[in-house]
């Protein structure tokens, strides 16, 4: 188990390095310098700027310098917001994005698992069809469509909930969390249903029934643990997807999170910001993939004991 975790972490290092390298090369191979978009910068100012951002050095020196900075946790200054560093921007934006992500994840897991279990316990009944049809709608209703529709309905027509902002008004976190979480709730519901149906058809569930156990115990104790393994394995990718989704949701609801900064940086061609945030996101995603893998492993005793204790 420990060896597995360690192995996964070691594996992550070259991946992270690859991300940094690819991102760096991509950004630096962009046609046109970072300041060329600005109107009429005098040549001497340009040279001064390039010196300031070390753009006059050869590429490999820039790269090794950057790599060293990143390893020290320093993403450098922002191109577009003079005087501010990328670190500061991340420090401002990330807590907001993280909070949004946690709420969305809660929405996804709680609704998804409940709906999935309900459906799996009585497949091909109303109890299955209703949640699964809703899940299908959730999958086919992307966040950038669902968000505006929710705003239109609950915010503008019914005037129940605020339509934008974060932490300004009570209830302004509800719509963003639902918008971001719904699609994943739908995926989780489908995965849970599939996993549970598979598990509930196993021989050992019949054994549990033969022991006279009450039905809820059969479903939750004998079924859920195995049935949730695909869901847990999905959490890593779901997290990555939610980071992407946060770009849209933060834009729609005007939330000052890292996702919106990233999109703005993309439009402003704020290269250090893009570079820094990409590396930061990549690191996060890799970490979450590892956690989700380890969790899935931990839930499966057969894999768990492969690394310790002899089989008999």
């Amino acid at each position: 188990m420990l060896r597995f975790a360690l192995g996964r972490i070691l594996q992550a290092i070259p991946v992270l390095l690859a991300v940094i390298t690819i991102t760096f090369l991509l950004v630096h191979s962009a046609p046109g310098g970072p300041f060329s978009a600005d109107k009429a910068v005098p040549p001497e100012v340009l040279i001064a700027l390039e010196a300031q951002y070390k753009l006059d050095l050869p590429l490999w020196q820039q790269y090794s310098g950057y790599l060293g900075d990143v390893l020290r946790g320093d993403f450098g200054p922002s191109f577009k917001y003079p005087g501010r560093t990328v670190n500061e921007l991340i420090a401002t934006g990330f807590p907001v994005t993280a909070e949004l992500g946690i709420y969305a994840m809660l929405v996804a897991i709680s609704i998804g698992v409940i709906a999935g279990v309900l459906a799996a316990v009585r497949p091909n009944s109303i109890q299955d069809y209703v949640p699964m049809s809703l899940a299908m709608i959730g999958i086919c209703m992307p966040s950038f469509l669902l968000g505006p529709l929710l705003v239109l309905f609950f915010g503008i027509y019914l005037e129940w909930l605020p339509i934008s902002g974060w932490n300004n008004m009570p209830g302004d976190k509800i719509l963003p969390a639902i918008t971001l979480g719904t699609g994943y709730a739908a995926y989780v519901a489908r995965l849970t249903r599939g996993g549970m149906i598979e598990v509930l058809s196993q021989d050992y569930i019949r054994t549990a029934r033969a022991k006279g156990l009450p039905e809820f115990l059969i479903v939750f104790k004998h079924g859920l643990r195995g049935g949730l393994i695909p869901v847990v394995a999905f959490l890593g990718p779901a997290f990555a997807g939610m980071l992407g989704g946060s770009f849209v949701v933060e834009t729609i609801f005007d939330i000052p999170g890292l996702g919106r900064f990233y999109v703005q940086a993309a439009f402003n061609r704020d290269y250090t910001m893009i570079l820094g945030t990409t590396v930061f996101f990549a690191g996060l995603i890799i970490i979450f993939n590892i956690i989700s893998d380890i969790l899935a492993m931990w839930m499966n005793p057969r894999l768990q004991s492969k690394t310790h204790g002899p089989e008999k």
Binding site: K211, G212, S305
Partner: protein, 552 residues
């Protein structure tokens, strides 16, 4: 104690109604063992599941009849009451101990949960007490070091040990009735004997009534007081075990008894002449556990040298994991050997490339165990049978149909089925197709890997008859691999016994049966159940005495 009266259970599916159980009645007293015997699809498991109320309804529907346990009609019970019965009064052991235990929970947790969560609150026991009881029971069913092993997960036990755990689990509520649904079918023959012993011993102690479902008349002869013979949901015959075996009334039972292979191969003794057709010398195959997985390498085949002479049928017996299938496949070069040689007609096959091998492939063929898996599900019989003939130039497009029809005659398939797909046939018919494919290119040598193990006993004897017939007619040399010693005895000239990748003994079949040399061979031969109540009981008794003798 248990009374089943005029039970009718039908399955209602889109394709119509199947009468799974049709008017079956029987009764069982405390301490008594009733065997329900029948081939697959006879409804024997359906009855067990009905007693436990484990049937999926729909499609199953109880049409009429009653099941009463101690005067209480099960069909009138509430769900709540039924759960009490299942936890308390009825225990059940299933066929496959590999899949019947929850892999995600320790065996201790699975053992004690019916006690802790008992549906009758007065009968609940605390965690600690249940654990003590579970440990006691585990030692009783023969799990060594039960105190520590109770916290292990199922995958840390061997198949036989898992079945012991299953038995402990079924008995933990101290039931009055124990249902055993083919409890030893998935186990090796030596383990089977131990498990049967254990069930007998526990029954004597706890005086439970046992319903013992089996297809194996040998096992039944030893364990049952009464027998019920089922065929297609209808009770063909029932009565005392001796009466069923010695005063058989029904034609069907008689056919079952006759289908059991007994005695040696008919005809005159085979005398090896000339040079061997197939030979292995110092053959070794090692499966590595995969780097990083922490598993060590397994020597599946360990330094084996065998000769098979033209016209000979060599039996290869051994328990699961002994490496017999691997050896068979490596002779055909389906698995490349790490060390040693395979020689066919004097040619070394070991280092030939794929294209060079094709020349020899025509002369050696294989029949697989599972006729479901060994036929391409997307090809019709015609395509399956014509493909090898066309490819090896034994038929041309124009006469392929004719040749395929001839082949179908030879293996006993009706012409009208020629354009059908494998899933439209029964297991026996599928095996006929597979045999037809193997002989279609007129090979000199066939490896038959458990060719009848997946089949019911009556079908098994038909297919064995067919194979022997073809072998004789086409003068085919054969390696016959099987775990079923009686089958091997009835068809082979010579036998090699394998254990842990090695051949530990080989010799003329009858000679080996009469005077086995190796201790393991002796144990194997002694473990074969005999479909004759008196001899079977004598065998069990002798085993028991022998064991006692060796214990002290």
């Amino acid at each position: 104690m248990l009374e089943v009266k005029n039970l009718k259970i039908y399955f209602h599916t889109r394709n119509g109604i199947t009468k799974a159980v049709d008017d079956v009645s029987f009764s069982l007293n405390a301490g008594e063992t009733l065997a329900i015997v029948g081939e697959s699809g006879s409804g024997k498991s359906v009855i067990c599941h009905a007693i436990m109320d484990l049937l999926e309804k729909p499609p199953a529907r109880i049409e009429s009849g009653s099941i009463t346990l101690g005067g209480e009609n099960i069909f009138d019970c509430t769900k709540q009451r039924m759960r009490q019965l299942r936890g308390n009064d009825i225990g059940m052991i299933f066929q496959d101990p590999m899949t019947s235990l929850n892999p995600n929970l320790t065996i201790g947790e699975q053992l004690i949960e019916p006690l802790i969560y008992h549906s009758d609150p007065d009968k609940r026991i605390g965690r600690r007490d249940s654990r003590l009881r579970a440990i006691g029971l585990l030692s009783e069913v023969g799990i060594p070091d039960a105190k520590n092993r109770i916290d292990n997960f199922p995958h840390q036990f061997s198949g036989g040990m898992r079945q012991r755990v299953m038995i402990a689990m079924a008995l933990i509520g101290e039931p009055r009735l124990l249902i055993c649904d083919e409890p030893t079918t998935a186990l090796d023959v030596t383990v089977q004997t131990q498990i049967l012993e254990l069930i007998k011993k526990l029954q004597a102690k706890q005086r439970v009534g046992i319903i013992f479902v089996s297809h194996d008349l040998g096992v039944v002869a030893g364990i049952a007081d009464k027998v019920l013979v089922l065929c297609d949901g209808v009770a063909m015959e029932s009565g005392k075990t001796e009466d069923i075996f010695y005063k058989t009334k029904s034609q069907y039972t008689r056919s079952l008894l006759e289908a059991i292979p007994s005695g040696g191969k008919p005809g005159k003794e085979f005398v090896a002449t000339g040079t061997p057709l197939v030979e292995t010398s110092n053959l070794s195959i090692i499966f590595n556990g995969g780097s990083g997985s922490g598993e060590s390498d397994v020597k599946a085949v360990d330094d084996i040298s065998l000769q098979i002479y033209p016209g000979e049928i060599l039996g290869l017996v051994g328990e699961s994991g002994s490496g017999k299938s691997t050896l068979g496949r490596s002779i055909l070069r389906l698995i490349p050997p790490q060390k040693g040689k395979v020689i066919f007609e004097g040619n070394d096959l070991t280092n030939l490339s794929h294209s060079e091998l094709i020349r020899f492939r025509r002369k050696m063929q294989m029949i697989f165990q599972d006729p479901y898996a060994s036929l391409n599900p997307r090809m019709t019989i015609y395509q399956t049978l014509a493909e090898p003939m066309l490819h090896h130039g034994m038929a041309k497009q124009e006469d392929a149909l004719e040749k395929v029809l001839q082949l179908m005659d030879e293996v006993g398939l009706e012409h009208r089925h020629i354009h059908k797909y494998p899933h439209e046939f029964s297991g026996g018919q599928r095996q006929r197709i597979a045999i037809g494919r193997a002989i279609s290119i007129k090979p000199d040598f066939i490896v038959a890997d458990e060719p009848v193990s997946a089949l019911d006993v009556t079908i098994q004897s038909q297919i064995l008859g067919l194979i022997m017939n073809l072998v004789e007619r086409h003068k085919i040399t054969m390696l016959f691999i099987s775990h079923d010693l009686s089958v091997v005895r009835s068809v082979t000239d010579r036998v090699a016994v394998m254990k842990s990748g090695r051949v530990i003994e080989d010799g003329k079949t009858e000679q080996l049966w009469q005077i086995p040399q190796d201790a393991y061979t002796k144990e194997l031969l002694k473990s074969i159940p005999i479909a004759d109540p008196r001899s079977e009981r004598r065998r069990l008794l002798m085993n028991r005495n022998k064991k006692k003798g060796s214990d002290f």
